[in-house]
Symmetry: C2
Subunit: 427 residues, 2 copies
């Protein structure tokens, strides 16, 4: 017999069915035992009346994997109006042991270290699993939007001889006896590939040796990187970002069941994301006009403002000071103290960094020299700009941050399958 | 004016158009100069008659980025029957300098080191670019097939405390002062996540410190990983692999233009991929029956046999000896010298490794102990199998190998954007 998924059981009323999944919960009453079975689609209810089967089930703790054959039967009182009766239950695994959490409870109240130490188990919880299902949906929406817009997916090297952004926060690797670094971002490579494909994206791990233990930094996260050529300035990049976010939101919203389990309020992406200049943003939050960056509390304050004034969960801040942006950042043409770059805030958190890049070889040499760096250290990356590169720009979006804010989670560790940080290298 | 892509020029005959791209080739005749422009869609022809414009064009070498405005005009002798006349040409980059290869030539005859040293430039060549476009199409087909089959995409940690397969060929990282390794595969994590999502996949970089300099090994490659629960045995895994390959081939074939530029003969994936037992495979190629593995020349010989006997570019070999497979491999139930594992050969090369895994905690303890390993070293991975895991299995497919065989390339470095090997850490 072919397997039936729990959520399609109602299509088989009156028929023999075979279910497979995890014992989610057993409730032993006087005359019957209710078995709630969990599979990737959801839950179903199995009614066990036979005394021998009930006795056998007593020996199969929650999380044991079983096959259930029986008859799908309509019952208005059962979930989805259907349940399985007269079951034969076959264990597909040895009886499960030692669960440190009760996965059948509606909410998992475990402390963060317990959640993370037992990640392979705690992700089985329906609420938690929904969080990652929305991450997967977001990836799908991201790629679908870009594929439709003529972007090419690329795969870039994670071993580099040169650190991307600065010398700080890089992981050192022994590369066949030579020193190397793990890539902090695909930045250099996605720019070089604009010269090949014009429009590229990559979804993959990036590595930051973050020495700080915060709720929003990890040593590895999934970066959704985009880069495109033939732009006028960073606002063309923002327009693509707007489309990408809209595509991600559509994919998330399609997964209604997971949105409901994860308690997600699906955001609306405005046709035009509200945009404010960095100088005005500082003024708005009453910060010192010489501040070189926005503090986390400023980002939260600005997000509240965008929601209040523009009804938007998203706010773009453009024009960040040149001194705080990487050397490849394009200056603001009318005032080079500022740049054609932006951050995107989503519900109080910096989610995306992007902007226009320099595209002329000479400008790179000038920018690097002004920072006291040797252009010769940048090899093939820098050479590329002498070989004809269009005006271009791009952005990077942190997947786990996006999902954390989407689901209202207070720590990016809760939206990362197996987080890696200063203290955590397992599981 | 909005930009027109080269390959849509024929839709605009008689209209003013604006093209943007790279100067692919200039041909100066007595009265006119032909400018061939390249963009992400392909080539177009621009006819320059104005003497001042011709003189200006003389100063813009091949690969310079330009904007061309002019009139699209039908001309039966032009490529696609259309060309642009009366152009105004604006440089969008400084004149390109120093190209070590001539990208306008139909074939790029450069030696491999030149190709790789100047990768950001040589990938611009139409033949070469087509190769990676087929890699991107393959990724699309891979994910589309699995998304439709209820798989969830996952993202697993690349820093691990334990080496996945064995202690060999791992890269060491300084992880905040602690020793760690780069993941050789997502194997442990994808298995753990079968307990959560039942069916998972990941596309991402894996890291092998390959000490050998061969045409088919790299220090980093893109692994397409799949794992699924509730299987009977490895043949259920092979059935999913068959669907995935078929989906990848469809996506590749849809990109007709790239197939043609890359000289790809699109393979047919048979309804049933021919399957041979390892023992029979050894016999067929006349190898010693005690050989523990297939040598590269055996793989080529077996592929020729599959093509001859079954008309198939694909051949699955099942039952590899237990001694040569990792500890998590499920034995062949009727004879534990062999395993429920397989390799898939494609046009003479091992492309995929897969099989059924152990799923009972006790079996893992036995298998590790028999190999002289301490089960205690495997922490949360091993614990997962005590918490209810279904029979499961999966496979891993090397993207760059797939594309290399698809395009008939003799070295996997030719299908990798920026290869990393024993000697190469740049660009």
């Amino acid at each position: 017999m072919r397997r039936t998924l729990n959520t399609t059981l109602a299509e088989h009323v009156g028929e023999p069915v075979q279910l497979e999944g995890w014992i989610h919960r057993r409730r032993r009453l006087a005359a019957v035992t209710f078995l709630v079975l969990r599979d990737r689609s959801g839950l179903s209810q199995v009614v066990v009346s036979d005394q021998a089967v009930r006795a056998a089930l007593d020996g199969l703790p929650e999380e044991t994997v079983v096959r259930v054959t029986g008859t799908a039967t309509a019952n208005a009182k059962a979930p989805d109006g259907v349940e399985v009766i007269d079951p034969v239950i076959t264990a597909l695994s040895a009886p499960a042991v030692g669960a440190p959490v009760e996965l059948w409870r509606p909410h998992l109240d475990a402390a963060l270290p317990t959640l993370l130490d037992h990640a392979s188990l705690t992700w089985r919880h329906q609420e938690r699993r929904a969080v990652w299902e929305l991450a997967a949906a977001s990836l799908r929406g991201f790629r679908a939007t870009l594929d439709a817009a003529g972007f090419t997916e690329v795969a870039t090297p994670k071993f580099t001889a040169t650190a991307t952004e600065s010398g700080a926060n890089v992981f050192a690797v022994d590369y066949f006896g030579r020193p190397a670094h793990l890539a902090q971002s695909p930045q250099f490579y996605k720019q070089m590939l604009v010269g090949v494909f014009e429009r590229v994206y990559e979804t993959g791990p990036v590595f930051r040796a973050e020495p700080h233990d915060t709720v929003r930094h990890l040593a590895q996260y999934t970066s959704l990187d985009v880069e495109l050529g033939f732009i006028a300035d960073h606002r063309d990049v923002l327009a693509v970002l707007r489309e990408v976010l809209a595509g991600m939101v559509v994919a998330v919203a399609e997964h209604e069941d997971a949105c409901s389990r994860a308690g997600v309020e699906v955001p609306v992406v405005p046709e035009q994301i509200p945009l404010i200049h960095f100088q005005d943003a500082l003024h708005l939050v009453g910060a010192d006009p010489d501040e070189p960056d926005l503090a986390p509390e400023h980002e939260r304050e600005l997000s509240r403002w965008a929601l209040r004034e523009h009804g938007s969960d998203f706010l773009a801040v453009e024009g960040y000071p040149a001194l705080k942006r990487p050397f490849y950042t394009h200056p603001q043409p009318d005032d080079p103290r500022w740049t054609n770059s932006f951050d995107l805030l989503f519900r109080g958190l910096e989610l995306v960094t992007g902007g226009q890049r320099l595209h002329e070889h000479g400008d790179y040499v000038t920018a690097l020299t002004a920072r006291g760096q040797d252009p010769g250290d940048y090899g093939a990356y820098l050479d590329t700009f002498a070989r004809g590169m269009p005006p271009h720009g791009g952005f990077a979006l942190g997947l786990e941050r996006w999902v954390a804010r989407l689901a209202g989670l207070d720590n990016v560790r809760r939206s990362t399958l197996f987080p890696r940080d200063l203290h955590r290298l397992t599981p």
